[in-house]
Point group: C3
Amino acid sequence: MAEITIDISVNHLWVLTSACLVFFMQAGFCLLETGSVRPKNINNSLIKNLIDCAIGAIVYYLIGYGLAFGDVNGEFAGHELFAAENFENTTIFNLWMFQFAFASTSATIVSGAVAERITLIAYSIYSVLFNAFVYPIISSWVWGGGWLYKMDPPFIDFAGSGVVHITGGVSSLVGIVLLGRRLGRFEPETVEFDDPLSRKRVRATISPEEFRPSSQIYAVTGVFILWLGWLFFNGGSTLAFTGSSTITAGKAMMNTTLGGASGGLIVFFLKHPLYDLIMKRKHIGPFKPKFDISALNNGCLVGLVSVTAGCANIEQWAAIIIGAIGGFAYIFGNMLGDKLRLDDPCDTIYIHLCGGIVGIILPSFLDQTTGVCYGSDGKQIGIQLLGMVAIIAWSAIGTLIIFGGCKLFGILRMPVYAEVYGLDLVDNGVYGMNVDLAAPKVEIIDEEISENEQMEDQTPEPSIKRQ
Amino acid sequence: MAEITIDISVNHLWVLTSACLVFFMQAGFCLLETGSVRPKNINNSLIKNLIDCAIGAIVYYLIGYGLAFGDVNGEFAGHELFAAENFENTTIFNLWMFQFAFASTSATIVSGAVAERITLIAYSIYSVLFNAFVYPIISSWVWGGGWLYKMDPPFIDFAGSGVVHITGGVSSLVGIVLLGRRLGRFEPETVEFDDPLSRKRVRATISPEEFRPSSQIYAVTGVFILWLGWLFFNGGSTLAFTGSSTITAGKAMMNTTLGGASGGLIVFFLKHPLYDLIMKRKHIGPFKPKFDISALNNGCLVGLVSVTAGCANIEQWAAIIIGAIGGFAYIFGNMLGDKLRLDDPCDTIYIHLCGGIVGIILPSFLDQTTGVCYGSDGKQIGIQLLGMVAIIAWSAIGTLIIFGGCKLFGILRMPVYAEVYGLDLVDNGVYGMNVDLAAPKVEIIDEEISENEQMEDQTPEPSIKRQ
Amino acid sequence: MAEITIEVSVNNLWILTSACIVFFMQAGFCLLETGSVRPKNINNSLIKNLIDCVIGAIVYYLIGYGLAFGDVNGEFAGHELFAAENFEGTTIFNLWMFQFAFASTSATIVSGAVAERITLIAYIIYSVLFNAFVYPIISSWVWGGGWLYKMDPPFIDFAGSGVVHITGGMSSLIGIILLGRRLGRFEPETVEFDDPLSRKRVRATISPTEFRPSSQIYAVTGVFILWLGWLFFNGGSTLAFTGGSTITAGKAMMNTTLGGASGGLIVFFLKHPLYDLIMKRKHDGPFKPKYDIAALNNGILVGLVAVTAGCANIEQWAAIIIGAFGGFAYIFGNMLGDSLRLDDPCDTIYIHLCGGIVGIILPSFLDQTTGVCYGADGKQIGIQLLGMIAIMAWSAIGTLIIFGGCKCFGILRMPVYAEIYGLDLVDNGVYGMNVDLAAPKIEFVDEDNNENEPSEDQMP
């Protein structure tokens, strides 16, 4: 065992404290997603977020950490340290905690994008493969000493705008495209299905008004937890707290805060005016969405995503600019997504993919060492673009195989009746909240005698009716 | 004042940071319990959890810390350091914070078990005596240098599977047995009582369908907070962060994570199949509880409990095994409890007592130093069993005196009408949530003219009716 | 760049960890407020709390930190370090994080007091000016090396009973007075207004029974988060963790815990008996408020506020006494406020102003170095009173200008119909929770044929 000096201890104290609070970001993602879905689907969201951690821990221990950090040395992936081999009597335990928390964060981003329609089986399969292969290999390229790190100058991604957020955002996009829209998301949709409750053929309609967040209180609490975690996510990425890291950690945190703040302000104040202007949106009724808490939430998050890659080596005004450009990327991404009718329950793509791209590109200009604005040649720009394309390609291919495979076997999306009744009732036999959820209106259509009869009474008594 | 070297500072920085985040576990227990009870009783649960901390702080300062750590030296309990005597100019302040957070955790475990029926008076009395005497004496045996620590080899309980969780679990069991079941928990029960609202004799019925958690969102958020706290609970128990503690802390945290993950997966995937198989459970209706978020919650928790005793000195595969066996202990404990019709609102006994026993026994085999699997003789097995029996006996006797005394004086359980109307309305005059809670159905039975008349209208307007 | 020794690293590690967890107190204040307001107004509360951090970060970076810590040296305010000038290569980044978290905490206190009636525009203006000028100048006096620090003996306010809490509490009081009561808070009130939904003249009534917290679960979770943050708020105020600070930080945390616990127990057990006794309160119905979770919440908070100024240099029994005095100050303050019919949705004044005053005054007696109980002359008493009055005056004047200006321009308070329909519907077009909120009952008053017809159906 190498001697543990006081400097090593202080460095690892910082890494370990940060690891734990980054892990706590899982609670933030969980609350953000649960607050954004319809009340009839909350159990499904809760399970996805919690099982993600449990599965992630086991597979990252068995496979992921080894692929990411097992003596990569410029190659494609690592080849040792699997299943905690040779951890004993080293400080790798502390680094494992930190990297596991990062892997889990990246994996859980996708959960919000595929909410309210994916099966738990498909999500569990995704969780295993993403934590074992997709994410670890990307992180080996950048942080494990892989080929992107060996570039000259090295690819800039201090705390993961690319490794964590583009990876999560691209995977979300693939998931959204393969899953398709939720029933009734953009206009009222009427479906017919064999109803397991009445054992008859029935018809039901879902309309867009149904899609309101279960509670913004959860979403905002989630944002606060994420912001707390993000400070340690970026500050902890120094992986040290002695010598100049003492300064870098604080600088990264201050830039993180300013980036998040600036993104939040831009989106909060400009999203709706720009929508009205560019998308020619019309409002019915006297009350327009002037001050929109979810714009503020998502704006803060996209600012935080954007500033993550550069935060350790930019000036403070630059952090504000990066956050603001991230905010605009979110707004225009959102417009494009709405045009294409992508159904993204938590705006995951616009936050993590759009924000991540801004975060990876801008440091080529604003980095204090190799940025073009500080007089360097533009070589960094090419390297950033190359790294970005590689990350996008690998995560797109990986997720395509995972979700595409599930689709092929027909286990990707919940059946129609589950979307009508709520995933919670179908999967768990009971809703996740003890409040009065409105029973879905379904009509029986294959029997002359009972045509048009309302059927709520046949839904299970304990789950639907007020107690 | 002894000189404070940099090493001492770093060690105490770790202890103090950990202490604060362990204290935050109170919020986790509070959310877990509040999410699991019926909405009409949430204020009662909130008060129990919060007053626990307030009372605990005062009595642990006055009595508890002295009994636990006041120069124990192999004896039954300590005899100095009461009321912070001689703390001045020492680092004991930091240790007090850490140990107080532990005592509070152990005390608050019981809150979930006695929920929805205990009086606040009885719970306050319990809180005073448990924090002053029951817990501190057990912790003096193991961590204060008491007789279990003086064994050769010493009793293994690194972070408290026994001291904290068996103590809390046994106290819960005693509380549950003395309090009895909640009205209508297992089959519909009809009671008659003198109604304070109508001042007449009335009859009411509570049936098992009423017992649904108020919201799983709170429960899962609670689990995430507990998991965060647990990392510091086990990692902080090194009480140092220099030299080899730098490694031990991270190892304890990694093992904690793996144990929790493995417990969660076992219970999530196997609880319902095993129930169907062994208990021959029949389901009515088409939707069965396949994916159950509370199984995942409780599985993670029992895994965390189990791995707590051994986490600093076991290998990673062993952590996974301990968590898994903890998961099975939870499942079979739960079956036994259901057979015996124990009414445990938060599955406290199965999590903390069953998990704690697994946690205490398995290190005799899997401990890297004295475990049988590493070639030691079996002496550790005997010591672990002895310590476990001693802890069970002391906590059972202590809680029996406390709750038994309350029962003798008739102040243990809330009156019947409070269980019908909700503890919140009776204790506070108002419900804790501004939502429409269904008024209980009560029938007047002592007047000819109004027999069978529904009485909801007489319950207080602001509290029961929707606004 | 000065050499970073291991001691400097450890000290800054402590500051930075504390700063982040203190920042997390924003979530606690947010949950406390959201849990205490009516469900129809939660979005407004959420936005206020989150935008506070966002605005605070930008203006504290541009102006606030410079005014507070830019070479103050006994003067009224600082004059450098604006917009992170000269931060590069220094550990000031870490201090900025810590001080920003404090400024945000002080600003957000006011949010609870002005809830359910202030416009977002007015709150945003307040947030800019408070974080830029009101709070930083007070903190420069005490912590930036300003005139209160240069007193002999220096003004005692270790972690901010005065700088943070009296400032926030005083600003709350001004906001509450200028805004006035919420409609129907103390007795049923009937108002007429031009209804934007039906485009007719309508009449509506709000009665006091409507004012119930949206959910105590949020409030209590908020208290736990605040308590966690408070430990680092007070413990982190050592700004170091080597040498004697290793002890002071733990001592401050232990005293903080004991103060909060004692305040909570006093208010929980004595508030309602004292109200019944002194205010001669009558209860209708059989169920009285015996055990009141809001009393426990607020009691713990007032205990924490009160112990904050002295926590680093008092004995443990003294922390318990200070917390208990804070609890009594809360109860009697609350009675006075109720008598004057102040409408304070989160009891902000009673917690932060009453608790802050107790916290500033009592260390003149109980401080282990300069307290009268330890044999010092009473000079500290005068200095504490002087500092307290200066803080109150500056924050009152500052907030008066901000909120008074907004009132002059008519942008301070939401229109009447917004209070009826809920601020969320009017500002955002949709409520913040996906539950069935009861539509307000309104009557048409300008048309004969449909007088008295309820119009809930016209809700979106």
